[in-house]
Symmetry: C2
Subunit: 185 residues, 2 copies
């Protein structure tokens, strides 16, 4: 069933109905939102260049003294995407050391994570909704059935850090808006 | 299958495996995250009272002059939750006028939305993943298959506004952290 012509769809997705599966809930959305993050970072970088602002000022800014700076927010967005896809897809979580200090390095990390997301076979996700996912978060042992891990932990964390990154840009006056958060503009 | 004793689960969810459905992806998570928002607002309110800060200062604060203030972020979090559950559950979206000006009124709105979420019968969500959802967002007509509407529009918007609310509190020095975002602490 196709919707009426001329209506807006998120550009990263066709209008085709999707089958409900742990794969379809995960890889397409994380991948497209990571593209949107690249779009936001590209706009921030161009804006800084135009105004002769040292990119490091943006990359190290934070909203409160005990919150994480932009570069760490970006690293964590990618960590939650690759962590979920690896754990639900039954492969090792690829370790990515947190060494990025420039926009170019963050772009490279995002691209590597998107490549990883698309490298895990869809068939691996069969039944992942009730597979028990166990992990250490700081000092805490956590276990969740797969659906709860995805929708109650991974997705909230992913958007938490993505929105924190966006909010740091907005608070600095970078000319981005909600449309950019969704990859438009 | 039960996980080992002593492990941490989000308090709002049992450790039981969940069936993958549009209902199980939606109502339990929106409901529990709305509880977490109430927890965040309660801490903010208590902190303001203790320091003799007018609650309206927090409720009208924003991270950038052209971003929305805390009270509107809270209204929008609830709008995205009730919008998704109504549309996917095949009932009218209940209109809630945006009139709240106090913490007590915001708490009341959140409670009414949680009641609404739990009022929509689970059976209504059968097949909602490929039902076409059409809506107007500002001047734009949007249409999505249900899964794409939920995971690519409603969920990102819900967490966008929830995190924006959290970020406004953090930026004002309200003593909340990531644990509070997940309802602990």
């Amino acid at each position: 069933m196709q919707p009426a012509a001329g209506r807006w769809f998120p550009p990263h997705q066709s209008g085709d109905p999707m089958t409900l599966s742990m794969y379809s809930m995960t890889v397409p959305f994380y991948s497209s939102m990571l593209s949107n993050l690249e779009h936001l970072l590209s706009k921030a970088e161009a804006w800084a260049a135009e105004r002769k602002i040292d990119p490091a000022v943006l990359l190290n800014d934070r909203l409160a003294p005990d919150m994480l700076p932009l570069k760490r927010q970006v690293q964590l967005v990618t960590d939650h995407a690759k962590g979920a896809v690896a754990r639900l897809g039954g492969v090792e979580v690829p370790p990515f050391p947190d060494v990025e200090e420039t926009f170019a390095e963050l772009h490279d990390r995002i691209a590597r994570v998107r490549d990883f997301l698309h490298s895990v076979p869809e068939a691996n996700f069969a039944g992942a909704e009730d597979k028990i996912i166990s992990m250490k978060v700081g000092p805490m042992d956590m276990s969740f059935p797969g659906l709860q891990y995805l929708q109650g932990f991974s997705v909230p964390n992913f958007y938490f850090h993505l929105t924190a990154a966006y909010a740091i840009l907005r608070h600095n006056g970078v000319p981005v808006g909600k449309g950019d958060f969704f990859g438009r503009g």
